[in-house]
Symmetry: C2
Subunit: 147 residues, 2 copies
């Protein structure tokens, strides 16, 4: 067993997590958003998620989404619209202003991450993409424990 290697891998994964967490905090703050608001806007960028979907994506309770969406709606960044197929669900649609702001956020993230890899040879980039893809999908089916 390569126990030392495993520990090292875990350490690296968490280190990268911390780094991206800091990047998100700095970028959202720069735009006058909280990290949660920025992430919610990004999730609503190309689909029109329901509150329940947003709760799953943000790893929080659905009752939290109500206030989160309330504040963003009060700022004119999104609107609530009823789902035509299921009258229980309400879907979140970005306004033009919300599109612009979330686009700005995504641009900051993209350029910061991209410039961090600008000096990498494309073979290493491809390797990393391949390994990250396997890693993420491997973790996505993580063992759930009973509540």
């Amino acid at each position: 067993m390569a126990a030392a290697h495993e520990d090292e891998l875990v350490e690296m994964l968490i280190g990268l997590f911390q780094e991206i967490d800091g990047l998100f905090a700095a970028a959202s703050r720069r735009l006058g958003l909280t990290p949660q608001q920025a992430q919610l806007l990004c999730f609503a960028r190309h689909r029109q998620p329901s509150s329940g979907e947003l709760a799953a994506l943000l790893h929080c309770d659905k009752t939290n989404i109500t206030g989160l969406v309330d504040r963003l709606q009060r700022r004119g960044l999104l609107t609530r619209r009823p789902d035509p197929d299921d009258r229980r669900v309400t879907r979140v649609h970005l306004t033009a202003e919300g599109e612009a702001l979330s686009g700005e956020f995504q641009r900051v993230i993209d350029t910061t991450l991209t410039t961090g890899f600008s000096s990498w040879p494309s073979t290493e980039r491809d390797d990393l993409i391949r390994l990250l893809s396997s890693a993420t999908s491997g973790l996505r089916s993580r063992p759930r424990q009973a509540p």
Copy 2:
């Protein structure tokens, strides 16, 4: 330029971030901690950080640390001790209970991540460790912009 590859890499990095974020949320909740509390305890596991160091590690204002440490101290998980070399700084020391709880948290994280990679050949693990190391250090010196 491999613009498509860059976008794909950014997408993968964020996907992994989301996954680890969810893992942290679930693990800390299981132990009756908030994610911030769990992270703070882990940072205090082997060193005795000052409040300012904790603020930098948690990417938040130093005034936030006061209340965070207050609540953990009230639960008997850590103590404040003055730094002998600089009477301005107070350092955080975990109690035995705090050690146990943060150890439990770290164990949950470690085993979940490790089992996610248990089927990987060691050559791929080594590749991923090497690439993540480069990536994280490359991002750690990220370009700061003026406030």
